[in-house]
């Protein structure tokens, strides 16, 4: 096996590695993108293995490493791992909640060569934020963390996941980003996978709220041009075309779970029939080129109609496979978020209905306990909702 170059000539090299260092996290956000079955600490990769994975990633062409989780600073070796990124020339991005031990490790992370911090904020109003995150006293910790990030001169991005519980605060998130000295703000409408799929009815905003949030962001972009960059992720259920999930399946991104399983995207494990390879058994290059999970939906050969003959097939690559499975019951179907999907109108109706109902309580993310709410079933073309 050639350890460095993938054996498919036309195969592009991955640009990003999402390193889910741990699933442990002090927060319990009901929209967490982690799988419902979370890895335990005892199953996590050790420092040396992560360092090997990073070395292989750099050789393969990865430029950005997203140090994520769970809460990545919950790992005792987060500074060492960051230093390895810097030594390899990899751009390190810490995706953190800013709570718990994060602040105590920040200066050491800076010294180790950390490039960028992405801090999550659950809400603007502290009580609301702490209700969503499921952790008391989180907000002041986050603000103190943000202050130290900008004091050190590290670039700060605020990430706000938007849903019906905080969509009224979009303007506030923008003001908060300016106040905290962030250079970027992500206004990311919830993507309904993992915990968010289970909690969909509690999270789904209505169309008018979504439209209003988009108008607010567009006005702020103009007003704050050169001061704050705002990235907007619009919610799939209200979109016209789907997103190119992770830039296209197996085209740009690799995701390594705490236990070393390598996924084309963080939700891919929901597709049960896929065979995932582990970093303990294969090199990253081998996995990228040959893992059945990566080759399953790479390119366009797997597509059905209407994707197969669609002009957009190499723009959005059929959308999200996990969403296709969840909503259409077939991972190779057109993502129902696409207006060309026969299920699209049902998706719209479903969003409308859920948004109109009284929201149920959140099912908070937890490790090792049963989820006490069933995930919503797939839609059927002929069956009424």
């Amino acid at each position: 096996m050639n350890a460095i170059t993938p054996n498919t000539p036309s195969l592009p090299a991955p640009v990003g590695l999402l390193a889910e260092l741990t699933h442990r996290c002090p927060l319990r956000c009901p929209y967490c993108s982690n799988p419902l079955e979370l890895d335990r600490r005892s199953g996590e990769l050790d420092t040396a293995t992560w360092q090997r994975v990073l070395t292989e990633a750099a050789g393969l062409g990865v430029l950005h490493v997203h140090l994520s989780g769970g809460e990545p600073t919950a790992r005792n070796d987060i500074v060492e791992i960051t230093r390895t990124c810097a030594e390899l020339g990899l751009y390190s991005n810490l995706i953190t909640s800013g709570v718990g031990g994060a602040l105590a490790k920040l200066d050491a992370l800076y010294d180790a060569g950390l490039d960028h911090v992405q801090l999550s904020v659950q809400g603007v109003d502290a009580a609301n934020a702490e209700k969503i995150g499921g952790l008391k006293n989180a907000q002041p910790q986050k603000f103190a963390f943000a202050e130290r990030v900008t004091q050190l001169g590290l670039p700060l991005t605020l990430n706000s996941v938007i849903h019906r519980g905080n969509i009224h605060e979009v303007e506030g998130f923008i003001d908060l980003a300016v106040k905290l000295g962030a250079k970027r703000l992500e206004v990311a409408h919830t993507q309904y996978y993992g915990w968010a799929y289970v909690n969909r009815a509690a999270l789904m905003p209505d169309k008018a709220q979504v439209d209003q949030s988009i108008r607010i962001v567009e006005a702020a972009r103009e007003r704050l041009k050169g001061q704050l960059v705002i990235d907007l992720v619009v919610p799939d259920y209200y979109a016209k075309y789907p997103k190119a999930c992770a830039g296209g399946w197996g085209r740009k991104l690799m995701n390594v779970t705490p236990a070393g399983k390598v996924l084309p995207c963080h939700a891919a494990e929901t597709i049960k029939q896929l065979e995932f390879w582990y970093v303990s058994d294969h090199s990253l290059a081998d996995i990228w080129a040959n893992s059945p999970a990566f080759t399953a939906y790479r390119g366009t050969d797997w597509m059905q109609e209407p994707c197969r003959s669609c002009d957009r097939r190499e723009k959005d690559w059929g959308g999200c496979r996990c969403q296709a499975l969840a909503l259409a019951g077939d991972a190779a179907a057109t993502d129902p978020a696409c207006s060309l999907s026969p299920l699209h109108s049902k998706v719209r109706e479903l969003a409308k209905e859920e948004a109109a109902e009284t929201p149920p309580d959140y099912v908070y993310r937890t490790i090792g306990s049963n989820v006490d709410r069933a995930a919503p079933p797939p839609l059927k073309e002929d069956a009424p909702l």
């Binding site: 062409g61 991005n93 670039p155 991005t157 001061q227």
Partner: protein, 358 residues
Amino acid sequence: MTAPFPTPKTDESQRLLSPEELEAALRDIGARRYHNLHPFHRLLHDGKLNKDQVRAWALNRYYYQAMIPVKDAAVLARMTDASLRRVWRQRIVDHDGDAPGDGGIERWLKLAEGVGFRRDYVESTQGILSATRFSVDAYVHFVKERSLLEAIASSLTEMFSPTIISERVAGMLKNYDFITKDTLAYFDKRLTQAPRDADFAIAYVKQHATTPELQRQAMDALTFKCNVLWTQLDALYFSYVAPGMTPPDAWIPGTGLVAEVAQAVGTGTIRSGDVPRLPRGVRLRHDEVRGQHVLLAPERTFDLDANAVAVLSLVDGQRSVRDIAGKLAETFAADRDVIEVDVLAMLNDLATKRVLER
């Protein structure tokens, strides 16, 4: 004839004032009613307006500027004395210039372009508030319909303008990073033109307002003109500050502007003398796997062409934009000024994306 803003007829108001007393009374009108006292102007000078509110001001005020020569031509048409016309026609020359690209209107267009507008959009006046149009048109009608004395007296707001201009220029340069000295070139000229014009007008009014009735007319004319200016700011405040009720068809932020890059060149944060640098978290790197240079930044990667690499390799936190352009001009045997325009466009684009600082 009815005065536009009736004042109680007291004995005092019917007394003939000495020329000095008349001037003092006219100055007192300005001290109480000139638009430097308007809340919108306070916000403008103190840097409290956002970019779009400054734009709304520049756009609407253009109509006033553009109609000034029309107004002055109307005044001129009523002057039967050649010596008067010779003095007054200078106002038209000042505003229109002697050739295309010259004059006060042109400089105001530069200001509007400086804050990001397309010239043709501004010249069309299609986005101005109706209140702006009504006020300005009322001014033009006023000088046509009233006596020559009243027409000339209505121009006396120029007595107060040097103060507002100095305040405005200093305040705007200090508070808005998108305003440059070049953008405000209009006001440089007005600092000398306005006092000259005002000196002539006040002398004329003092000489010709020879009865209490004529003096009252002169004062009312000046009050009227103060209201022309004040009303325009009321409308701006109402539409673009609070309660933010923009009438149908009036300018909406984000429209009428030039393309993003051109705007960044004119108003961006990086200028010729600035020293650009890549902040922490932005790195120029050679990507061996793909055989190209990339700029690594938060959550994004910029693929760089050879020109971009040549520029960014010279961004070291020491060289100014001018130095960088000079260095490139040497290397590529090209004109430094031409290169500088391209370098500024590229650096401002990166600055807008928050991956380059100065």
